[in-house]
Symmetry: C2
Subunit: 206 residues, 2 copies
């Protein structure tokens, strides 16, 4: 028997349940556990609804929200590639591209093509919608790190310069006003870290 349109849609919706089991490096703000990619996607969609006035260009919020809701489903096959892991970024792109084809291929053809096109648009980060979506996808974990006293930066021994270079260009490009705030947060965070470290050192000597 041939699968109906609804069968295909439900089979995709069941398959992406697995995104709830893909664990990211970022913690929750209460530091109780790591965040998973499904709840991360929900949170980003809320960021997009509330912060669209800070987009660098003119954006269609509904498209931005859609991109953010689906941007990570490829991790079901390809896993999460943490920003501070510098290995294998070529194979990552290939694996994600294959994952997108398989997953969106579960859908009825037209919807599958639409989702695949949106995912590719997000990845290419060339349109205003995609630039803003990408900026939020960097902004949220930066905020989490600042408000959990270092989060993944502490774990991975990441410097102020590395934060600036890994987050800065993407956030600045898609949401310049949000980057202004980030610069202040990050500078303050690392300066506090430095004075704490020097305080400790001084304490050691005394």
């Amino acid at each position: 028997m041939q699968a109906t349109v609804l069968d295909k849609q439900l089979s995709f919706l069941r398959e992406i349940d697995r995104l709830k089991t893909v664990v990211r490096q970022s913690p929750l703000l209460d530091n109780s556990r790591k965040e998973n990619s499904a709840e991360h996607s929900w949170h980003l969609a809320m960021y997009a609804l509330l912060l669209n006035e800070y987009a660098g260009g003119s954006v269609n919020t509904h498209r931005v929200v859609q991109m953010l809701l689906l941007h990570d489903v490829v991790e079901i096959d390809a896993g999460d590639f943490p920003i501070h892991d510098e290995s294998s970024s070529n194979s990552q792109a290939e694996e994600e591209s294959e994952a997108a084809k398989r997953l969106f291929g579960l859908l009825p053809q037209q919807q599958g093509n639409e989702f695949l096109a949106l995912w590719r648009e997000f990845e290419s980060a060339e349109t205003e919608d995609a630039k803003f979506a990408k900026a939020l996808d960097r902004f949220q974990p930066l905020l989490v790190n600042v408000f959990t006293s270092g989060g993944t930066w502490k774990e991975n021994d990441v410097s102020l310069e590395q934060v600036f270079s890994r987050y800065g260009p993407v956030i600045q490009r898609g949401a310049p006003l949000l980057w202004d705030v980030c610069e202040q947060w990050v500078t303050q965070h690392f300066s506090e870290q430095a004075s704490r470290a020097s305080g400790l050192q001084k304490g050691d000597k005394e």
Copy 2:
């Protein structure tokens, strides 16, 4: 110093991180753990994007997605009230209404009012958008129960008649074609349960 518009938006976005720690009764499809309300909201938004053709009336998908993204944030204060728990539904409505005022009150006034209005529209379930959103909010856990061999129905000893009365009217009202599928699933599920139980009984006697 007065909180800026952005300060208020970020303080709301940080506060709702707590939705990731509100645990629902429904399991994940792989039965590895219970679902939380943030990832549930993400999943529902994906349902809305893909299944809008089954809405009973003419809907604005962007509004439906927004409602589903924010519909559960009140649980941060009020907790999750499981569908199969029949106690205290009056106090539930009050607690949720207070929670909505507090949480959306963290936002800049205009955005807070917009979100509060959307949440109330969802709760009232009178507009086409809200009816469809509500239908999906019932449809997803029903699907989970069917595909996890009973899920919360088994745990709470819920009968076929109770499933029909607790899920049926809401799904039928907002997404009649989806209810047709549910009826088949539910009937088949309970008939399989019954033949398994009678097989066991027969086995006991022999």
